[in-house]
């Protein structure tokens, strides 16, 4: 649970997942900021890249992250109907299906890629999303591609 208490500490030497989060400026990035304002505590494993809208996210960005050795990729934008540019998130969501298929085809668990919808007012939900994503990726273990690129 993401809340005001510290998330449980990892054991020494345990797998520290490398996760990249690509967030839209208007909803999810603002929601993540709000989690900060509310001092919601969550695990520190996700690194964030900000774009104006999830519509900007080229499937190549995600593939590049995985080939660079990311253990997980999180895409997060506005709720449907709330995109600052009307429908960028619909288009992004469609692309996510494509990328998930691609991942499956190359033998990578598609759960390593996740798209979520977190609004500017959902700080607590952001904490929850990060906690879940980190947990999922921890369970999956290091990406097989990360091993290859080493």
């Amino acid at each position: 649970m993401a809340g005001h208490e510290a998330p449980p500490k990892r054991e020494d030497g345990a797998f520290k997942p490398k996760i990249i989060g690509i967030l839209c400026n208007w909803c999810s990035y603002a929601g993540a900021d709000l989690a900060g304002g509310g001092r919601i505590q969550y695990p520190p494993d996700v690194r964030v890249v900000r774009v104006m809208c999830t519509g900007r996210i080229d499937p190549l960005f995600i593939m590049k992250a995985f080939t660079d050795g990311a253990d997980g990729v999180l895409i997060s934008g506005c709720h449907f109907g709330d995109c600052h540019y009307l429908e960028g998130n619909y288009k992004a969501a469609k692309r996510m299906f494509l990328v998930k298929n691609l991942l499956k085809n190359i033998g990578l668990e598609d759960k390593r890629l996740r798209m979520t919808f977190v609004s500017a007012s959902e700080g607590a939900k952001w904490g929850q999303v990060i906690t879940d994503v980190v947990k999922t990726v921890e369970t999956l273990g290091p990406s097989p591609l990360a091993e290859l690129t080493k």
């Binding site: 510290a6 998330p7 500490k9 490398k18 990249i20 400026n25 208007w26 909803c27 990035y29 603002a30 993540a32 900021d33 709000l34 989690a35 900060g36 304002g37 001092r39 919601i40 505590q41 969550y42 695990p43 520190p44 494993d45 690194r47 964030v48 890249v49 900000r50 774009v51 104006m52 809208c53 519509g55 900007r56 996210i57 080229d58 190549l60 960005f61 590049k64 992250a65 660079d68 050795g69 990311a70 109907g81 709330d82 600052h84 540019y85 009307l86 429908e87 960028g88 288009k91 992004a92 692309r95 609004s119 500017a120 007012s121 959902e122 904490g127 080493k150």
Partner: protein, 703 residues
């Protein structure tokens, strides 16, 4: 490429920035190493934010690490980077170290990007050569008990930001003229005050109200706390002013249908709902001499269709052709076409005035405005959902708004406070505060509705004053009397003899014969359960955003908080602004406010909305898309993706390529995220810049 350069030159010759001109990096495709990287010199400035950041991570370690990042030419830290001395550090370092990019690791770019862009500009760099690493909201504040994790994350965040900063380019905001007109949506006290202020500042203002009259909830109130002046007496003069103001174009019985454009240039389509009655101006325009509705009300007398009057909370009838109350502005009848049976009686009685048109259709009006204010107010929470209190099951359980109408001299009973079941004056009246507010059961609202404590005190006072011998009982959780002279008002009501019981009412039962009510509660001060028989129960019901708020806010691109109230740009520093430039909030639509706070927020919003109009132009962030002609295959797939129709295929050098209309592009990047050939360059969020960030995180650090 040549095409792009000429664009830049024209932009810079406009003199928007006194920036150091530098060769723009070549647009490299994914994987290619962009050229500029070799010569980039980035300065990194780490903020402690007092102990906000420094308390959760090891700043020295972060600073030492930053020095090792490729292309970093200078690193410094300061207690408050955003302060004057902090910004001076940046200014000086840019010149001393010939920096080409600036990274500040501090709070969120959503808070201080504009501040540091200005600092970057003052140091002599183009302001868009600035990138922020968010190490507060998304780091020190959310990893407060994990020093090591926070420190590592900060190092990565800085590395990622530096990677972007090495590839940032000079950009020049586009200056666009601002239409000298404003729009206010919703004509309650908030919308009226905002419109009056704008109009008095010389700005043409369209005031859009969905009901047939202006005034909003305040016109339903009898007296207003804490001064107890009569609501109508302070409101109606303002309503008249609004109706009279030359700069206000009032559109009642109208709704916003669509909004296009951006700050300075919103194209708004308004639906003027068919009201079936012509105003005198409309009548004159149609050449009917002395025609149009003069408010005589002859039609109302003959109309056979009887409905409940919502203004009187359903406690008085109205006809299918109606005005809600005698003080309406404009004084103009309206036909409720959903109930009208088209019997033609009103048309006949109206006679030569020819004011009634039973076949009128909705009309669409297009207007252009520079800025807009949303002031859509609130509705009552359907308190019947809290079945334990029996509203709508027991006749003598009423809401506070019904109380306002019943005690009001112009209300359905002429101000005689009687109970609905038998028309007899009540002797014992229970007020239930927080009826649906501060309620975490899921069947209510978690927030405080903010004015119910005060108006319930007012109600108790009105009873005591008007009906000697009556006993008010106030069931409360806390009395929140925070405003100027409010606490004093609370003491006064205590002295007047109202009884206060701290505790929530768990249940209400009705005596089927007397229709009296048995109220069950826990008296938490005496720590014992209690029951009390009363003649009337008044529920101080919670409030919620007005019915159409969600649709309207989406038209303007405004977000809402979890409970549906419209979201301000910053709760403290920008409470009237929204994240859509040029759109502002006034009154209760942003969250419950009493009248003094509503008027203050309306004046704030009006002032904010008038600034761009008075300045006459605004600068748009130059995040638009551009086509890299050599890479464009002319497939045209992006054209239909753009939600703003900013893209088109054009002939150039004998082949088809895509072209962007910069004024239409809002910079979402949807086209750029799609183009299979990588032919779309998104300013400030270009593919090589984003790929560099990804690479920096995953390949750039200590592995």
């Amino acid at each position: 490429m040549a095409e792009r350069k000429t664009k830049k030159e024209t932009a810079s010759t406009k003199g928007t920035t006194a920036a150091v001109k530098k060769q723009a990096p070549a647009k490299a495709a994914i994987g290619e190493q962009p050229e500029a990287k070799k010569e980039a010199r980035v300065g990194v400035f780490i903020c402690h934010c007092g102990t906000n950041i420094a308390g959760s991570m090891d700043i020295t370690a972060v600073q030492d690490y930053a020095k090792t990042i490729p292309n970093v030419a200078y690193v410094d830290n300061y207690k408050y980077m955003c302060s004057m001395p902090g910004q001076a550090v940046i200014n000086k370092a840019i010149a001393d170290n010939k920096l080409t990019g600036v990274v500040v690791a501090a709070c969120s770019p959503r808070l201080h990007e504009p501040t540091f862009r200005t600092a970057t500009k003052e140091g002599g760099l183009n302001p868009f050569r600035f990138e922020m690493a968010n190490i507060r909201e998304q780091n020190s504040w959310v990893h407060m008990h994990d020093q090591e994790g926070a420190t590592e994350k900060a190092k990565d965040a800085i590395r990622i930001a530096v990677a972007k900063a090495t590839l940032l380019e000079d950009l020049f905001p586009k200056s666009v003229p601002v239409e000298k007109a404003a729009m206010v949506v919703g004509a309650g006290i908030a919308g009226m005050q905002a419109a009056l202020d704008l109009a008095n500042a010389g700005i043409k203002t369209y005031l859009i109200e969905k009901t047939p009259t202006i005034g909003g909830r305040m016109s339903q109130l009898d007296k207003t706390f804490p001064t107890l002046d009569c609501s109508q007496c302070i409101l109606t003069p303002k309503m008249v002013d609004v109706g009279r103001s030359e700069n206000i174009e009032l559109m009642t019985y109208s709704e916003v249908e669509s909004v296009e454009g951006y700050i300075g240039n919103f194209d708004v389509t308004i639906r003027k709902k068919a009201r079936g009655v012509l105003s005198m101006e409309e009548g004159e325009a149609m050449g009917i001499v002395g025609g149009g509705c003069n408010g005589c009300g002859d039609c109302e007398a003959v109309c056979p269709v009887v409905l409940p009057n919502t203004f009187e909370e359903g406690m008085k009838p109205r006809k299918a052709i109606y005005i809600q109350h005698p003080q309406v502005v404009p004084l103009l009848y309206t036909i409720d076409f959903e109930s009208c049976i088209k019997c033609d009686l009103c048309v006949k009685i109206c006679g030569e005035k020819k004011a009634i048109d039973l076949n009128q259709k909705d009309e669409f009006v297009k207007v252009k405005v520079g800025t807009a204010i949303l002031a859509t107010g609130y509705d009552m929470f359907p308190v019947e959902n809290k079945t334990e209190w029996g509203y709508k099951r027991f006749e003598n359980v009423i809401t506070s708004l019904e109380f306002e109408r019943l005690i009001c001299a112009s209300g359905p009973t002429g101000g005689h406070m009687v109970r609905p079941s038998d028309g007899v004056a009540p002797k014992r009246v229970a007020f239930l505060l927080c009826a649906g507010s501060r309620d975490n059961t899921g069947n209510g609202k978690p927030y405080c509705s903010r004015f119910c404590c005060m108006y319930s005190l007012k109600h108790a006072h009105q009873l005591i004053e008007k009906m000697p011998g009556v006993q008010p009982y106030i069931f409360y959780m806390d009395i929140r009397s925070f405003g100027k002279m409010y606490e004093e008002f609370y003491y006064r009501i205590q002295d007047e003899g109202a009884k206060f019981i701290r505790g929530r009412v768990s249940n209400i039962l009705e005596d089927p014969v007397s229709k009296n009510l048995m109220v069950f509660a826990d008296d938490t001060l005496l720590d014992r359960p209690m029951k009390l028989e009363v003649d009337l129960v008044v529920l101080a019901a919670a409030v919620q955003p007005a019915a159409d708020t969600n649709r309207t806010r989406k038209l303007f691109g405004v977000s809402c908080s979890m409970d549906g109230w419209l979201l301000e740009a910053h709760p403290k520093l920008n409470p009237c602004g929204t994240t859509t430039a040029g759109v502002f909030l006034a009154g209760v639509c942003q969250g419950p406010k009493d009248i003094p706070d509503t008027v203050a927020s309306a004046e704030g919003a009006a002032s904010a909305a008038s600034i761009p109009i008075h300045v006459g132009h605004v600068e748009l962030e130059p995040y638009f898309a551009q086509c890299i002609d050599e890479k464009c295959a002319g497939c045209g797939m992006c054209v239909n993706l753009c939600p703003y129709s900013a893209l088109a295929l054009v002939e150039k050098d004998g082949r088809k390529v895509m072209q962007v209309t910069e004024a239409k592009c809002k910079g979402c990047g949807t086209c750029g995220g799609f183009c299979p050939g990588g032919a779309i360059w998104m300013n400030h969020f270009a593919t090589p810049q984003i790929i560099a960030q990804i690479d920096a995180f995953l390949l750039g650090g200590e592995q």
